[in-house]
Amino acid sequence: MSEFCSKCFDEVDENHSCGFPDGDSDSVGGFAAPATGNMPLLTVVALAPLMGIVFDLFMPLPSSLIHSILVSVLGSTIVAALWVAIKYEGKKSFKFYLKNLKNFAFTPLILKIFTTEDSKKATASWLGVIALSSAIQIFLFTPGNSIYLESRVTKQIDKASGADLQVECPSNVIYFYNERIECRVKTGILGITVPARAQLSPLLGSADIKVSLV
């Protein structure tokens, strides 16, 4: 893996030496703190994927394995970017964040940049927490997951009959994928609601939706 410069936040190679940034670089650095005040950077990196659970609460995505891993990585990326935004005192621009996106996404890399600690242990912890975060997201059916399912049911009915009906799905439940989630479709006729039962795929998040009258 390449070496990183803590001053300019760039890879150190033969074209670029640490402390002597390229002319067009936006990442001209000043000072980077090796730790986050009270919390060591190692802990920040290891726990960063847990931010995925927070995102899962409101992001309108299915609660599948693939989506949960992606959301965990996204959460970790945001935490890393925030940490850099707060702690890194060099010049920061949009291009800077864009250029370092992969370093934020694979969060243990920022350890290499800012500390001399062994990043192997951090990577293992980070991957473990990704797995934990994903597992929690998979089994928690959150308001975000609920919004996603509601839009799927609405679209399915709209496609079949052109009726734009309001759908309400349950949220904040622990879901083990062994039974269907029952949403209610508001028909607008005498306040009658009918069930729409969805069987979700735990791997891909695809939903098999069945609307019935009882």
Partner: protein, 276 residues
């Protein structure tokens, strides 16, 4: 007893009207969400219609006779008449005795006369809508309760009861196969297949009755006897008897067409889709 009978007929009539209207509305709203009626069921309907039409066995027409008399009784009750009794005879004749309310006598007479011949088509229409909306079991529960109430309060002879009990036995099997009743007669394995089989059985019975009713209406399209429903209907509407007879036949065919549009999943009765 008469009060109980009146209550029964009002309960059956209003429940059927309200539930059918709701199912119709909701099914239109959620079009395309229910199952595609299996091809075997559609073939069953065509076969039953044909065999009901050409049937020569009087015993198999008893169901149609009972439904015919129930149609008269139902409309008599809904037009504020008092239904006294229904008889179904072995020779497939039947009678509904009721005390009419003498308000709007002519239109009441027309409606009561009309609803005998078209009742099989109405029952088939309701069945088709419920089956294609995956509500067969609920239809069976409702029909079972209604038949039981009618037998207890209104049917007054042996063949009427035999016909009613035979229909209830079929409904019982439907409920058992759908899992609404703990299986007693059917094996627990392949209940799904049995369910499809018994959905076919329900469609068979109702379509067979409709075939018989169409045959009867075809024969009576030029009524001569003043006792015939077609004749009474025509007289009540001031139209020639043959016009009334043909009108009843046309109403039955229109209801059959509508029922097929439900079963075949056409977007509307005017947009002809598949036939099988």
């Amino acid at each position: 007893m008469q009060a109980l009978r009146n209550l029964t007929w009002w309960f059956i009539g209003l429940t059927t009207l309200v539930v059918f209207a709701l199912v119709l509305l909701l099914s239109e709203l959620l079009a395309g969400q229910f199952w595609d009626v299996p091809q075997a069921s559609i073939v069953t309907v065509y076969a039953a219609l044909f065999l009901g039409y050409v049937n020569r066995f009087k015993l198999f027409r008893l169901g149609e006779t009972l439904v015919h008399e129930i149609g008269h009784a139902q409309m008599a009750a809904l037009t504020f008449g008092k239904v006294q009794f229904i008889r179904v005879e072995r020779d497939t004749s039947g009678v509904t005795w009721y005390m009419p309310k003498f308000i709007f006598g002519r239109i009441t007479s027309a409606l009561v006369s009309l609803f005998g011949p078209i009742s099989s088509a109405v029952v088939f229409l309701i069945t088709a809508r419920f089956v294609s909306s995956e509500l067969t079991a609920y239809w069976a529960i409702g029909a079972g309760v209604f038949i039981a109430l009618i037998l207890l309060t209104t049917v007054r002879n042996f063949w009427g009861w035999i016909t009613g009990l035979a229909l209830m036995a079929i409904l019982y099997l439907v409920l058992e196969s759908s899992g609404y009743i703990e299986p007693q007669l059917l094996g627990p394995e392949n209940l799904n297949d049995t369910n499809v089989l018994l959905v076919n059985a329900i469609l068979w019975v109702t379509a067979f009755n409709l075939g018989s009713a169409l045959n009867y209406s075809m024969k009576c399209r030029r009524p001569r006897s003043p006792n015939m429903d077609e004749y009474k209907f025509s007289r009540a509407l001031f139209i020639p008897p043959s016009a009334g007879g043909h009108l009843i036949l046309l109403i039955q065919l229109a209801l059959l067409w509508l029922s097929l549009s439900f079963l075949l999943g056409w977007p509307s009765p005017f947009e002809v889709g598949k036939f099988i």
